[in-house]
Symmetry: D2
Subunit: 238 residues, 4 copies
């Protein structure tokens, strides 16, 4: 069963150039999919369409089987952006509570506080976010996403700049989520992370799907994801 279905999605900001052009792919339940794209690939436009931040122009998006703008769809999916989009006047606990309330989800603050400890942020759960370093903010976002246990979580560069042990812990938690049948769409240029975690890779460029295949097959064919991507970027076909 597919938790995210994107079908013939097209979008244009100016009715002339297509930022996304007839894109289709799926994220199966219990899978981790890596989404790769250079600047202007249409990745952000696609994500904004999925989360109804841009009004769908053409094509179809379903989350958990529901149309993407259905309230049930909203409750199924969660988007974690790359930037420090955190309200500084809240404590971590208040932020997690506010996020849960926005999605209409009950969260276990004990579990969140426990993840804080494992992320080397013991005692910080009741501190104001304004005193957190960049790394701590990223980890706060990750914890908030993990305890929400949404069927589909889109993680957009959030792993950048976290420390090595947090990275390893995050990967373990992503694998646990996958084993529990949840799915993650992981946007990152850290190809080693993708080679370790991703079941499937989608490469976008100029609004189109260039590759959409099992990660293992792509690595076998090209030697590495980096080779695949960099060779493509240099190819004449582009």
């Amino acid at each position: 069963m597919a938790l995210l279905e994107i079908e013939s999605l097209s979008y244009s900001y100016d009715s002339v150039v297509k930022a996304v052009a007839d894109v289709s792919f799926e994220v199966e339940a219990g899978s981790i999919v890596g989404l790769i794209g250079p600047n202007g690939s249409g990745k952000s436009t696609l994500i904004k369409n999925v989360f109804d931040l841009l009004r769908l122009q053409s094509g179809r998006v379903r989350i958990g089987g529901y149309r993407h703008d259905h309230p049930h769809a909203r409750a199924h999916g969660m988007y974690l952006s790359s930037n420090d989009y955190l309200p500084e006047f809240l404590t971590a606990r208040e932020y997690v509570a506010m996020t849960a309330s926005l999605y209409g989800v009950a969260v276990d603050h004990e579990e969140a506080a426990d993840l804080f400890r494992r992320f080397a942020m013991a005692e910080r759960y009741d501190h104001l976010i304004e005193d957190f370093s960049h790394g701590m903010r990223k980890k706060t976002q990750l914890v908030s996403a993990l305890v929400m246990r949404r069927p589909l979580t889109v993680i957009d560069e959030t792993l950048n700049g976290i420390d090595l042990e947090a990275l390893r812990l995050a990967e373990a938690e992503f694998e646990r989520a996958r084993d529990a049948g949840r799915s993650i769409l992981l946007c990152t240029h850290d190809f080693a992370v993708l080679e370790r975690l991703a079941d499937r890779i989608v490469l976008l460029d100029f609004g189109q799907v260039i590759y959409d295949a099992p990660a293992g097959d792509l690595v076998e064919e090209h030697g590495s994801l980096a080779a695949m991507v960099f060779d493509y970027l240099e190819s004449e076909a582009r």
Copy 2:
């Protein structure tokens, strides 16, 4: 009629020390109230109680006549925090649309684009927020609050660091909002702004109301708001 009624509000984080201790004051419709408080005065705790970010422990808060946790109350009030709490992956237009959608309000994008022009940000309404300077982000927040036309808007240090002409324009817009019967609770240490705009001043310290009186009376009595506040901070009574 009071748009915001705070009655005997108390709050403690640890059941021992009271961060807010039996605070009562009102914000009348069509008025601008200045809220002043040093670190630890309870100002943030009070605001979080008003917007239901902390669960009320004792006392009563009403917005537009509704209990503060009633959906109608939520639609009446809006909180603008001091920090750059803006999603960088959105354009200004998308941010305004998302905010309006969260509050269930219809906004006029023409009006917002026009305010952008007057705030010296012509052409920027469809640009990504991640390319905005600090000053532009503050102005984006102000515009989003102004076009929402909420009966009660709490503005927490948002004027810091905007340019001189934006400050003057913001003040004119606040006065227009007041003339239209809307209210603003203005948290700032810029006493000159308060002397120009505020109808009433509330000074909090150690969780208690120290002053709550018409701004004109306080200025007449103390010479200036700065004299009032700094004299109080140095007084033995404190």
Copy 3:
């Protein structure tokens, strides 16, 4: 004696429009001068000329009697910008030491640690700046400037967003600096701060000096600095 002498300073980025046009003014030893200017007034260009971040095209700038690009001039003046321009990988102590080393100045770390205590940041002097909130970063910058005891300090919006007691403490320290014969050029739109502290006010617009007079005279003539500035901005002459 003038610690800062600006004489017939002009600067153009494109050889057509003058960002600064024949500006002259002085900052006397033992004085606090308020520098006010709307966007595009030439304030930033002027400051960059003073600190040799832009190469002088026309006119003369002297700091402490030395040409502005003379090493002695560099040691006389210090620039505190409005933004969080702080190396996050350093502790506050390391930052103060690095700044002192850049200016070739010996600083008293005991005095700095004491100021940290008075600024409600006890224990923080040896912490990494990356964990500091915006307000704490501003206070760290202020402390580093205060312990440097430069004859001339330019403070550009650095007071925005600090807490009320820090503001009051900063003002007291500026007055102590003035009493000790040092000078401060204070760029801010907080007119109440200027009315409390400034001996003299310079208003720039379109690269020209509009007002340059004792603050008391200007307040007496116009009622308040705000009235003076806002009336000017609305005047036909502009």
Copy 4:
């Protein structure tokens, strides 16, 4: 010949625990060395010792053959930190000029402007940094480091969050620098980048060198750098 020699370096903040304990390694001219370390590994302390931001307590550091605190050593090495440590009131050109002036180096602004074009930032070289997004700031830092052509450049997580094509371009420039005999010490957790670029890997933990060997040998032995690091982090020996 070694551009960076670290010999028996130890450092303690409190005279009890050693943050760095008898560390020795070298960076050969014309090589790229990957430096990996979890939180608390001593990586930051080590780098601060190299650049004289902490006073050497024990051991020896040489850059380009000079003692690390010798003026010639300072001119040989350059440190690029992970955070947005950029003065917002400067344009990119002014920032590059200021950096060059601090190091006493002549830079080619044509080359810098050309790199801006290749980094998809054409026209931005004369814009204020305050309007740059995070990614653009990272690219500005990279360009400033590249045109400085320092014999030794330490790059600390600066590649995080830049776009895919910028990453590829940066890698190509690092390889050109290596071919020209310059060296780069690259601190990153992006193991795929290290597997593509690094000649040698140093893994620090608890202030000690755990691995110091050619990258190829380590990959051959452990399967991948990720496997090496994560296996080590889980090992009992730790």
